[in-house]
Amino acid sequence: MNGLAILIPVALLMGLGGLVFFFWAMRNGQFEDLDGAAQRVLLDDEDDEDQS
């Protein structure tokens, strides 16, 4: 019984965390350019080194 009092909130919070993360990713535009992300791996970054 005591275990349940911990486990249920933990399960809920973890699920909620995943959900919040997914919402953030959608709002942040992470799914806007799926093919582009695959291509950008191949870019040379030399020109971008001055950026933080």
Partner: protein
């Protein structure tokens, strides 16, 4: 990584402009554009979206769209200004559905966890606790994820109609209300799990459908892109100013430089030039126009600047006429959508009355209001047309995915339905049966230096023939020579001097019935023949279509000689010199004879025909208008995808029919059980989900159909 240049001061004043850059093909293109734009003063950052082939540039307000467009073009990419994204709103609706789906999925899994504990024997205080937690999760989840259904149901009811969403909303709300009552009174059963699971599966179907629709909407507003966004207007006092297309008035004088397209219809009052009218007529050869001739909006001025007195603007231009023609033709076609809507309108009230009757019957039979309400909720859930609703979109999504891997993009689910029914094919010629790009066939007649001179001359011109010669010579790895004094003589060609020798590339003295060009170096001259080659395996594709029972015919706007050449090679009958209206009439005639016509065409002049035909396909090289009007677009050089799409479409319809029988069979089996009170809402929800899964599984078999 993102090529963001450090932002100095007034961040608040930046403007974001979007450009369509269809030529983005690889990582190199991304780097070239982003790094190339980075060093331009006034541009703060640029970001390439590879999936949509767009570039978003955030810049200071001093730079206007036209300057930015030229910057991108200087990097070697053709660009088009995108107006304020008209898609964003529509795309937002799918995003909303995906969020609702995520929330419903979260709720479903957690509630299931608790429900399984209840089923496996939790009792007393534990059971009540689990029910309360379920309620705590379910109520916000239903409130959030159910919004699309509630909103649509409320809208329908406000206008005194009913749709699929009304029984779904009532079922969910009743099940939730009943469960809250059960929980509060410490009852043995709560049905939060059923309600949330129902929402999850319904939303999954909607999301699939929405993604399909979004893909279809790509390339909206294509027609307006054909006309220029505005023009330089010459005022009476001799000053020039830039006027946006919507502010142009008949009577204004606009100056059109070489390489610009026209923003309005008008009469040429000074200068003469050749115009690329291929968008309007499909004719591959540029037309020379001089003083007094009518030039149409959307055509491209190729060789020299002209002044044009505007006669028609905006809605009155010929290009808008074509748009209207397409619109009207498209509306005629939406018959199928109406049939589906009507079926839904009859189905929904039937479900309501069935549930209500069940409730009344069990009340009279003395089952008590609680038991009667449970039965009617079970009926509402079990008759939920999910499997029926998924039967068509699931099959269509899988089939169009399979076709996409073969280079055919089907834009609209109902296109597959119509494609399966087609029994007659009409082909356009230029760009459809042929590749649409003339290629020189006798380059071997030229010596190396002649090739180098030809390339140097061809590079300086925008004429389609020059472009063709240039690209074939570049493909051979020829380096151009340096020329002085390059000039373009309208209607004649390019001249220049090469180390004191006069060289020329232009119209031959004797021109035959097909495209040709003459290269003169000093006193030697060679005539280059150009041919628009027929697509590889066009004959096989036409034979394959014939085997499936689709006879073919050609309708082309081109001249009879060049049409005859192709029709003889492929053994098809042909109609030449057809205007856009003629093409529509040809389709109407065939339709009246009882045929379902598949139109395959590419140009703007095919637009109305593509929209009027029962179903239509355009090649990927087609004008934006052609691509937008067509139901499907194929990207390969071969014509085989046309035959393949018909084959896959027929297979898809088989699966759809199977799915319908499965879904209807399930309803015939389950509804009587629910009516007799043998099914609880939970079992109803499980049975409903199971039937949906079976339907989706059956649709997945289409994955291998496009082989």
């Amino acid at each position: 990584m993102n090529a963001v240049t450090p932002i100095s001061s007034d961040q608040s004043q930046t403007v974001v402009s979007r450009f369509a850059v269809p030529a983005i093909r690889c990582a190199g293109c991304i780097a070239k554009i982003e790094n190339g734009l980075k060093d331009t003063p006034g541009i703060l950052s640029s970001r390439v979206n590879f999936s949509t082939k767009q570039v978003a540039i955030s810049h200071l307000p001093e730079l206007d769209d036209d300057q930015l467009k030229r910057k991108i073009e200087a990097l070697g990419f053709e660009a088009q200004v995108l107006a304020d994204n008209p898609l964003s709103e529509e795309k937002g609706s799918t995003d909303k559905l995906i969020r609702a789906l995520a929330v419903a999925g979260f709720g479903m899994m957690n509630i299931m966890l608790l429900s399984v504990s209840v089923w496996s024997g939790a009792s007393g205080v534990n059971r009540d606790l689990f029910h309360w937690i379920s309620a705590l999760i379910a109520i916000p989840v239903i409130a959030y994820a159910g919004r699309p259904f509630f909103a649509s149901a409320a809208m329908a009811l406000r206008y005194g109609r009913t749709n699929m969403d009304v029984p779904i909303s009532i079922g969910i709300l009743l099940a939730t209300g009943l469960s809250i009552y059960e929980t509060a009174t410490g009852g043995a059963h709560a049905y939060f799990d059923g309600a949330v699971m129902l929402l999850f599966f319904l939303l999954a179907g909607r999301v699939l459908d929405g993604m399909m629709r979004d893909r279809a909407r790509e390339g909206i507003g294509a027609l307006l892109k054909q006309t220029a966004p505005g023009a330089m207007v010459l005022d009476d006092d001799g000053k020039t100013r830039w006027v946006a297309a919507k502010d142009l008035l008949p009577g204004m004088h606009m100056m059109v430089a070489a390489g610009e397209s026209l923003a309005a219809d008008g009469e040429i009052i000074s200068g003469s030039s050749s115009f690329d009218c291929s968008l309007m007529t499909g004719e591959s050869e540029p037309q020379p126009l001089g003083k007094g001739d009518l030039a149409l909006a959307g055509t491209l001025n190729l060789s020299s600047p002209v002044t044009i007195m505007i006669t028609a603007t905006g809605e009155d231009t010929s290009v808008s006429d074509i748009a209207r023609l397409m619109d009207e033709a498209g509306q005629r076609r939406s018959f199928y959508v109406r049939v589906a809507d009507r079926a839904a309108r009859y189905y929904a009230p039937a479900v309501h009355s069935l549930a209500l009757l069940a409730f009344l019957f069990w009340m009279f039979a003395g089952a008590g209001w609680h038991q009667s309400l449970l039965i009617s909720v079970a009926v509402l859930i079990i008759t939920c047309p999910c499997a029926l609703g998924l039967a068509v979109p699931a099959a269509q999504v899988v089939a169009s995915g399979a076709l996409l891997r073969k280079g055919v993009m089907v834009k609209d689910g109902s296109a597959l339905e119509r494609l399966a029914e087609a029994d007659y094919v009409l082909f356009d010629k230029t760009g459809t049966l042929t590749l649409g790009q003339p290629t020189p066939v006798n380059l071997d007649d030229l010596g190396l230096t002649q090739k180098q001179v030809a390339l140097a001359l061809a590079q300086a011109s925008r004429h389609p023939i020059s472009k063709a010669i240039r690209s074939s010579l570049l493909a051979l790895g020829i380096e151009p020579v340096a020329l002085d004094d390059i000039r373009e003589l309208p209607g004649k060609g390019m001249t220049a001097s090469w180390g004191g020798v006069k060289v020329m590339l232009g119209k031959p003295e004797k021109s035959g019935d097909h495209l040709s060009s003459q290269l003169t170096v000093g006193s030697d001259s060679v005539v280059l023949q150009l041919q628009d080659e027929i697509r590889p395996d066009a004959a096989e594709a036409i034979a394959a279509l014939g085997k499936m029972g689709l006879p073919a015919e050609i309708v082309s706007g081109d001249n009879p000689q060049s049409v005859a050449l192709v029709s003889r090679a492929l053994g098809l009958s042909a109609q030449a010199g057809a205007s856009p209206q003629d093409k529509v009439e040809a389709i109407t005639r065939l339709t009246n004879e009882g045929h379902k016509v598949l139109m395959v065409g590419d140009g703007l002049n095919d637009g109305p025909a593509l929209a009027a035909a029962h179903v239509s396909i355009a090649p990927g090289s087609a004008s934006d208008v052609g691509q937008q009007a067509a139901d499907a677009v194929f990207t390969s050089e071969s014509l085989m995808p046309v035959a393949l799409s018909v084959k896959v479409a027929r297979r898809t319809m088989q699966i759809v029919h199977q799915n319908f029988s499965l879904a209807i069979g399930y309803n015939i089996f389950a509804v009587p059980l629910a009516l007799t009170g043998m099914v609880t809402p939970l079992i109803a929800a499980i049975a409903m989900s199971l039937s949906s899964l079976i339907v989706v599984g059956n649709a997945l078999r289409l994955n291998g159909a496009a082989k």
